[in-house]
Amino acid sequence: MARMLRSVLHNAFSKPATRPFPEAPRAAFEKARGLVTFDCTDCRFCGACALKCPTGAIRVVREERKILFEPFKCIVCGACLEACRFGSVQMGPERRKPVYEKPVEVYTKPEADKPATPQDRNE
């Protein structure tokens, strides 16, 4: 009885083991694998990332100097990150937000006056 009372009191006054998810989601770990983005400032469009990608989520069009990235094929393994010698691939800890359509992200070399990348496009 005394043991039971201890458990009852413990359960009544302790905090829940779960997190209040939708209101306060847990902060991502610093080294978590998340969002993959490209920064084409130093990119040579060599295609090493596309070659290493196990799912074919990256296509590099060398002539047009473009990277086409399909985030919903990406398995966030980080192989592209290790393949890139120019530091053009970044991976942050945040997760991708849910969307209604599967986009193809287009990354190009930023011009001096318009730094706008990426432009989302639906194919």
């Binding site: 770990f29 080294k31 978590a32 694998r33 196990p54 398995i75 966030v76 393994c77 980080g78 192989a79």
Partner: protein
Amino acid sequence: MSEGTSVPFGPQHPVLPEPIQLRISLEDENVVQALPALGYVHRGIEKAGELNDFQQNVFLVERVCGICSSIHALAYCLAVEAVLGLEAPKRASYLRVVWMELHRIHSHLLYLGLLAEAFGFESLFMEFWRVRERVMDLLEMTAGNRVIISVCTIGGVRRDIDAEQARAIREELPKLRDEARRLVDSLLSDYTVRQRTVGKGTIPAALALELGAVGPTLRGSGVAQDMRMAGYAAYGELEFRPVTFPDGDTYSRTAVRAEEVFQSIDLVLAALDNLPEGDLKVGFKGRPEGAALARVEAPRGELIYMVVGNGTKNLERMRVRVPTYANIPALLTVLPGCEFADVPVVTLSIDPCISCTER
């Protein structure tokens, strides 16, 4: 049997996380025959492994199984390293042990929770999974993902565990051990659980060996066979004795897994204490030519990868022999003679992983 009853157990059944059908013939309440029907989740991964680049296959084989994924990657990497004549650096071997044992802890806690749920002991199920969630957090903190952690690569590992992460693991695991000990004691000493498991689905040691059972199913019959004794990765340098229980019933198999949780915690801590400095991976040139076999201990038993390379970037053949495949004959042999009400628990006691089995 004309007057017997035939009951399809599965492919969808509350105790089975994955689809397998057992066609069970009953005589009154007793099982007289159990026939398996497999093939619900075949994905053709072995064939895909022949079409992919051998380095990309590491990410593919991790997706064979959702629970022991990184152990599949380790087995594949060991096989390819054997073909290429590579040896992973010391630090990489120790880090591999850390991650593989964390994986084993979470797999066994998952099993213990599912078993508790199979009896209808749902609060214990949630308690086990609450503890398991903290192991998942450790995996995510060190490797970046919760389950498919993608740490192994050919020639080493892709991530490091720094001093701060090692400290966090050292702080968390002793707390986790205390909590798991409390839960395991309440599972194994509970009257109802003992009534439902002791003497159910008994596999004698001789029969288990004859049928080629592996892993906790074999060790639960008192046979001390564990692939980690072969000393792959850094297991040869860490002190460790396989856990065995003599009775061969569902209770023994559960007790083996429960004790292995604590053994794995000790192994993680020992590997972190002895973690040598050094490189994380060795570079290599060339393409695999020749054949090699790697045998590792997955949470469910011995896992075998055979890799045949032909000097191109694609493999000639990749063969996977998973532990559940070896344990199903033992299960089918012990089911006849059980009562029908015990079928779910006995089936669960080999911890079947159907995604592995069908690949």
